[in-house]
């Protein structure tokens, strides 16, 4: 099968790339998405604030994605869902599989890599302590809560104060969990002020700036999380420890996903993380939801 443009990843960037390629005259375009639906990370972001710039409206993540999907419907862009790319070979052949069509090798004149980014996990941040259950990336916690209808903690600490961490703090509180703290390594929050007020302050959730998680205790399930203040060099200050009794902590740290091939052209993103009792985040935050992710960060085409 030959295509003008093969777009890998059907999140906001891939959707925008497809619309734009179509507008600009590309004929045979395909989006390959590994999830069951288009929209990528937007589908987990059920808070609103998306689309302010692009559509001049406040939309939730799924609504915002829906707008792009509608635009796409009016084009001839083909969409392969539930399809995983295994390899992109140097001749721009994209090898992919799904359950319906099996194994396929698609040839493209251009390949767009728009696979988004991945959360960094606890290991990436080298936090000492036990390794019990109850530590979630924000993505996993969001999936359980928003998509499976299950809570993954009752007493929660969140590491990282990016918007998604803040919004999950509110969401978990509304679901009856006690969010004990939102812990941020940086001396400032990466989240929108509005979210700090509406998601933390309104629910009396303390925000600990210039703090980080320095120990995790609990054999099977998280029992305690130790939070310490950090100095200018982000090194924990001995003696500043605060202990939280919790069962969950969550973190959110993003890093670019790498494509199956070596020819990665990704934009770098940011970091946050949170865990369902404790969570933590630090570093640059994920793109704030109110910016139009698609347009601004058009996926680089790959030659």
């Amino acid at each position: 099968m030959k295509y003008d443009v093969i777009i890998i990843g059907g999140g906001p960037a891939g959707l925008a790339a497809a619309c734009s390629a179509s507008e600009n005259g590309a004929k045979k375009i395909v989006i390959i998405e590994r999830d069951k639906e288009l929209g990528g990370i937007l589908n987990q972001c059920i808070h609103n604030g998306f689309g302010l710039h692009y559509f001049k409206e406040e939309l939730t993540g799924p609504e915002y994605a829906g707008r792009f999907v509608e635009m796409l419907r009016k084009t001839d862009v083909e969409v392969k869902l539930d399809t995983m790319v295994l390899e992109v070979s140097p001749d721009k052949t994209v090898h992919c599989i799904n359950t319906k069509e099996g194994y396929q090798a698609l040839e493209g004149k251009a390949v767009v890599l728009s696979m988004g980014c991945r959360e960094r996990t606890r290991g990436a941040i080298a936090i000492p302590g036990d390794r019990p259950a109850g530590i979630f990336t924000a993505g996993a916690a969001q999936r359980y809560v928003n998509m499976e209808g299950w809570m993954c903690g009752k007493r929660v600490v969140i590491l990282g104060s990016g918007d998604i961490g803040l919004i999950m703090a509110r969401r978990m509180t509304l679901e009856g969990a006690k969010v004990l703290a939102c812990v941020e390594l940086c001396p400032y929050s990466n989240g929108l002020n509005r979210n700090i007020v509406q998601c933390l302050n309104d629910y009396d959730i303390p925000l600990y700036l210039s703090h980080t998680i320095t120990d995790i205790q609990g054999k099977e399930r998280v029992e305690k999380v130790v939070v310490s203040k950090v100095d200018e060099n982000r090194a924990p200050i001995p003696g500043s420890e605060i202990v939280f009794d919790c069962d969950t902590w969550s973190s959110r740290i993003w890093r670019p996903a790498s494509p199956a091939s070596s020819a990665a052209a990704t934009w770098s993103t940011s970091t946050t993380w949170w865990t369902s009792s404790p969570r933590k985040a630090c570093g640059p935050e994920p793109p704030p939801p109110s910016t139009p992710p698609a347009r601004k960060r058009e996926a680089p085409s790959w030659r």
């Binding site: 799904n98 809570m151 009752k154």
Partner: protein, 478 residues
């Protein structure tokens, strides 16, 4: 009444069960945890040591060399990932060069094939990332890397397919000596057996005490690690050790069979087998020591820390004996490093010991000695296409970091020892081993386990008993 009950199903218990399952015997392995390979066997350096470390003449020396020889064939037959990549022991000073020569002599006495002493430049020609401070090294081409938990699972599964039983969540709590048998009280009911093999790892001394034996004491000793992303997996091609000291084999840098880089361990005395937490000091030490060997290790690519506890003991050698306190009770205790390397030979040794204690052994007519396992990512494009056509579940990738398909996960769930937790799936098919550490696939593996085992979502665990994931349905989920 069983002929033999094995206490503990780490690599030592599993190797023993595998060897015993060749014979017409009723065998049961009793494991305290809810999966096999859940103790020290899942948290170590994963090296099949060439065999130059142990003192010549010890059990350790003999079983190490014999064990790695057997492992070669076993891993092949039972589909266990193993790569014979060779190892270096680096010397940074003339003093350490003397140690290298000592190890060379020891290795030769122990029967280790192909040993060579190299100069610093020869080492760097083979392994360019190695420090310019290195003055020389011992090279052992027969050292290999392996997936330790998979090795254990493969042996245990094969034993089960040959008629042995493995009971999980069956911690042995006390043992009554009876006339010609033992009555074991376990968390999963009583078990009576004529012979008992104590393969309880770090807790082997405690289990021995249950029959009144006090001939050895375990001195638990923790080692901590970094596991780095595949981006660092080719930094070195061989296992890079430093000179051993009184605390162990020093900090190593090595590729893993899964394509990652492993860095560690330190050595620190701890109280119990459960002390597998990581410490800031331990990790800092590992970092500092490892860059001495390979200065370019990039710790920003760390994806996980973990720790394992060594079953060091107050004896210099492995303890492989009939207990002086109880006839028919075999200790496989103090199985510190190179325990993993020695395991296949310890299994054989245990059977011989049982024979000498009076157990009569008759070979079974048929013994299943193969094990097949689909590893989708290792297949050719043609075979991938064929497999997806036959079973569409192989067309759905669940773990994206490691390219693990739903077909492989379902296959693992329906093998002889049923995995019941997300980490048990990780150990069987690698899902969640990658750089996102299950952040993405965890909830999906969770759903598949729930569906295949017909258990509600909140009954699926992360790992051990008690490691629950979900707490209550959300308001909408109710």
């Amino acid at each position: 009444m069983y002929d033999v009950a094995i206490i503990g199903c780490g690599i030592i218990g599993a190797a023993t069960a595998y060897e015993l399952s060749r014979y017409d015997l009723a065998v049961v392995a009793l494991e305290a945890q809810n999966d096999v390979a859940d103790g020290t066997t899942k948290a170590n350096s994963a090296i099949l040591h060439a065999g130059y470390d142990p003192e010549p003449g010890t059990k350790m020396a003999r079983l190490n060399v014999e064990g790695v020889r057997l492992a070669k064939d076993l891993c092949e037959k039972l589909s266990v990932e193993r790569k014979e990549i060779g190892s270096f022991v680096l010397a940074f000073t003339d003093e350490e060069m003397k140690t290298v020569h000592t190890l060379f002599d020891r290795g030769n006495q122990n029967g280790v094939p192909g040993l060579k002493v190299l100069t610093g430049d020869e080492v760097r020609a083979m392994e360019p990332a190695i420090s310019t401070e290195v003055v020389g090294a011992l090279y052992a081409p027969s050292a290999a890397i392996v997936s330790p938990w998979e090795f254990c699972i493969a042996l245990a599964e094969t034993a089960v397919r040959n008629g042995a039983e493995v009971r999980l969540s069956a911690r042995v709590e006390s043992i009554e000596k009876k006339d010609g048998s033992f009555l074991l009280h376990t968390a999963a009911g009583d078990v009576e057996a004529k012979y008992v093999v104590n393969a309880a790892g770090v807790d082997a001394d405690k289990v021995h005490a249950m029959v009144g034996g006090h001939t050895f004491r375990t001195l638990p000793n923790r080692g901590e690690y970094f596991l780095l992303d595949k981006a660092q997996g080719e930094l070195v091609n061989k296992v890079v050790f430093q000179c051993p000291n009184k605390d162990g084999k020093g900090v190593l840098v090595a590729p893993t069979v899964h394509g990652n880089l492993i860095v560690g361990p330190n050595a620190e005395g701890v109280e119990t087998a459960e002390d597998v937490n990581n410490t800031a000091a331990g990790l800092a030490f590992v970092r500092k020591m490892s860059v001495k060997s390979v200065p370019s290790v990039n710790f920003r690519d760390s994806i996980r820390n973990f720790a394992g506890v060594r079953a060091n003991s107050d004896q210099p050698d492995f303890i492989i004996e009939e207990s002086p306190a109880a006839k028919g009770f075999i200790n496989l205790g103090g199985i510190k490093s190179p325990g993993l390397s020695s395991a296949p030979a310890i299994g054989v040794e245990a059977v011989e010991l049982l024979r000498s204690c009076g157990l009569s052994l008759r070979k079974k007519e048929t013994f299943i000695d193969t094990r097949k396992r689909t590893v989708f990512r290792h297949l050719s494009p043609e075979d991938k296409a064929k497999l997806v056509k036959e079973n569409p579940l192989y067309g759905r990738v669940i773990c994206r970091c490691e390219t693990v398909t739903e077909g492989e996960i379902v296959e693992a769930i329906h093998r002889p020892i049923v995995p019941r937790s997300i980490d048990a799936i990780k150990r069987r098919c690698n899902a969640g081993m990658g750089r996102c550490q299950g952040g993405f696939c965890g909830p999906r593996v969770h759903e598949i386990l729930s569906r295949e085992l017909d258990l509600p979502l909140d009954r699926i665990l992360m790992d051990e008993e008690g490691s629950y994931i979900l707490t209550q349905p959300t308001k909408e989920g109710k």
